[in-house]
């Protein structure tokens, strides 16, 4: 991740402690100008800490943060020249929309008229025209977060930091604002770092996804790359491959033979690790087939349907294979307690050399 000076944000072996506890263990990340990065991870993984350290609200214990080549690790937050959006909107309740959006401009010494005209332009961009003199406490959640976005964009920042700004909004507004932020980012060309725990949000908004785990970066890559080729069991299960199955891979002829615990086997020609492996797969990678079916390049495990739900568009089944349970989505309707074959195409399984992980449904 060694980057040239042209990187908008260059985080270099960044370490952060809370008291005596280390929460970021030497994180390195380089973000190009105009790039939209999503930092994804479960709570406590250090994603918000990373963002807050870049913003300057959290002191670094080691490493460097360079913004367009300038090291800011010891610079107070007000001198870093970024803008940020917060989960709680963080609007100033004693000010109007104009006061909130125009505050950054006021700090930069612009005249009242100039502030008014620039705020009007920003509000127009966000479909909030005419709300200048409204108290922010009299706005809806979606409007408030739009005002917060306007406040951040009014100063024309080169870097925008987003700290889960959409998680307090209801689903419809969230999806709407998601595409608005993305569209504005493409139009205005600022660099954005978006912290979220919502996988779909990260996938749809970001050019690259950074998956974090326990204070370290687990994987960085384009959404499709991370989704289709997770580099570790953690990333695989975080990206939705929550079913796990122990398999045994042995060299056979030109390829390998993959064998499950119950004796079902298939041969495969793709590159896979040899030896005992754990397979991770999403419920839409598997499908339901005849228990006796033999399919090239796929393992078919005989089992029974124990549960059926309809989340919309397709059915979701829980299949018992021996003492293990797997979730599978299938378009067709099947009766409960019916024997079925769980068909797993080897190409869509994520195989990792076995550790201590046991089989079954991995939640």
């Amino acid at each position: 991740m060694d980057s040239p000076v042209s990187a908008a944000i260059d985080v270099d072996h960044l370490q952060v402690n809370y008291g005596s506890q280390r929460v970021l263990h030497g994180v390195s990340l380089s973000v190009s100008p105009g790039e939209f990065i999503a930092i994804l991870g479960s709570s406590g993984c250090g994603k918000t800490t990373l963002l807050r350290t870049i913003a300057g609200f959290q002191k670094a214990a080691g490493g460097a943060i360079r913004l367009f080549g300038r090291d800011v690790v010891n610079t107070p937050p007000e001198k870093r020249g970024m803008a940020m959006m917060f989960q709680s909107y963080a609007l100033w309740p004693h000010m109007t929309v104009l006061g909130n959006v125009g505050y950054g401009l006021r700090l930069r010494g612009l005249s009242k008229d100039e502030i008014r005209s620039r705020v009007a332009a920003v509000l127009k961009m966000l479909n909030l025209s005419g709300l200048e003199d409204r108290k922010v406490t009299n706005l809806s959640g979606g409007q408030r977060q739009r005002v917060a976005l306007g406040r951040a964009l009014a100063i024309e920042p080169r870097i925008l930091l987003l700290d889960e700004p959409l998680s307090n909004l209801d689903a419809k507004v969230r999806i709407q604002l998601r595409s608005e932020i993305k569209a504005l980012q493409s139009r205005l060309g600022f660099t954005a770092i978006h912290v979220t725990h919502d996988r779909e949000e990260a996938m749809t908004m970001a050019d690259r996804i950074v998956v974090m785990d326990a204070g370290r970066i687990a994987q960085v890559g384009a959404p499709k790359e991370v989704y289709d080729h997770p580099n570790s069991p953690f990333v695989a299960s975080f990206m939705g491959a929550e079913n796990t199955l122990d398999l045994d891979v042995r060299p056979a002829g030109a390829g390998v033979e993959v064998r499950a615990g119950d004796g079902s086997a298939a041969s495969y020609g793709g590159p896979v690790p040899v030896g005992p492996v754990t397979a991770y797969f999403r419920d839409d990678n598997a499908s339901l087939d005849d228990p006796q079916a033999r399919v090239d390049g796929a393992i078919v495990l005989p089992g029974t349907i124990t549960q059926r739900t309809y989340p919309g568009g397709h059915y979701r089944y829980v299949i018992a294979v021996g003492d293990r349970h797997f979730t599978v989505t299938d378009d067709r309707y099947h009766e409960l307690d019916r024997p079925v074959g769980l068909r797993l195409p080897l190409a869509s399984l994520h195989l990792f050399p076995q550790t201590q992980t046991s089989g079954g449904f991995h939640a």
């Binding site: 913003a55 007000e78 709680s88 963080a90 609007l91 100033w92 309740p93 505050y103 950054g104 406490t137």
Partner: protein, 277 residues
């Protein structure tokens, strides 16, 4: 439904009786006495006398209490601001541990301490001389209006700070961070973003301090000389030396009026806020 309300009345009756006997009756009595001439008719003669004898002290009292309130506001904002926005952990910790102490010291003890601290040969001047900061000849006593103000401010700052720091701690931290993120220095964040959000609390603290300082007898009596002095001292003097309750009551009504004006400003402000919200 009649029985429970009768029971309720019985339950609050002792408290009501206490308020009536110990507060409302004496208050009404002294109010009436202030407006009654010796013959029994209504008159403003006691106020005229109070004004002739003590107009300077009325202004003096107003001056002391207003200046003390303003200084209390200034110091409380500074301390609460450091507690909320400070980034030097040891300074914040030390300040947090120390600032509350004067709260637990009674006014009379504080006044006594100030006598020995602020006198011409008091601890403060002696320390300055010992440190070489001033010559012994330059030492002056601060035991006058300045002493009263210093004691009042020293005593009331912790109280207002306690309220203010609590209010500042409960505002959304992100509103502070949003300001700094946009480029506001900590002092601007304090004055433009934090203080307006806790203005109501500051106002309450200052109104309560104002009324408290207006009613303290020990401090002006012990710290400063007798001329000019505060209304509390004058009232005690009228009663103790002359048994002149009427003039003392008139001075008391003037104190009520001053305190009432401040309370009215506060009420007006909070009603305006409620209408806005």
């Amino acid at each position: 439904m009649a029985k429970p309300s009768l029971l309720g009345l019985l339950l609050v009756a002792p408290a009501l009786a206490m308020i009536g006997a110990l507060f409302l009756y004496p208050l009404g009595f002294s109010l009436a006495a202030a407006f009654t001439e010796p013959g029994g008719g209504l008159s403003l003669m006691h106020f005229q006398k109070a004004y002739e004898l003590y107009s300077t002290d009325i202004l003096f009292t107003l001056f002391i209490v207003v200046v003390s309130t303003l200084l209390t506001a200034l110091f409380s904002i500074a301390i609460a601001g450091i507690l909320t926005l400070g980034e030097t952990p040891w300074l914040v910790a030390a300040l947090r541990a120390l600032y509350r102490w004067p709260l637990f010291i009674p006014f009379i003890v504080a006044a006594q301490c100030m006598r020995t601290f602020l006198a011409k040969n008091g601890l403060m001047n002696n320390s300055f001389v010992a440190l070489g900061l001033m010559e012994p000849l330059q030492a002056t006593s601060l035991l006058d209006w300045r002493g009263i103000i210093i004691t009042f401010v020293w005593k009331q700052v912790p109280f207002v700070t306690l309220m203010l720091a609590g209010a500042m701690a409960s505002i959304d931290r992100a509103t502070i961070e949003a300001g700094r993120n946009l480029g506001a220095s900590r002092i601007r964040v304090l004055l433009e973003l934090v203080l307006p959000q806790v203005g109501q609390t500051l106002l309450v603290g200052l109104v309560l301090s104002f009324v408290t300082m207006l009613s303290v007898l020990s401090v002006p009596m012990m710290v400063a000389g007798s001329q000019p002095t505060m209304l509390t001292v004058d009232m005690a003097f009228r009663i103790n030396s002359y048994g002149d309750y009427a003039t003392a009551n008139a001075l008391g009504v003037i104190s009520y009026a001053i305190a009432g004006t401040v309370a009215w400003i506060y009420l007006r402000h909070s009603v305006k806020r409620e209408v806005q919200a």
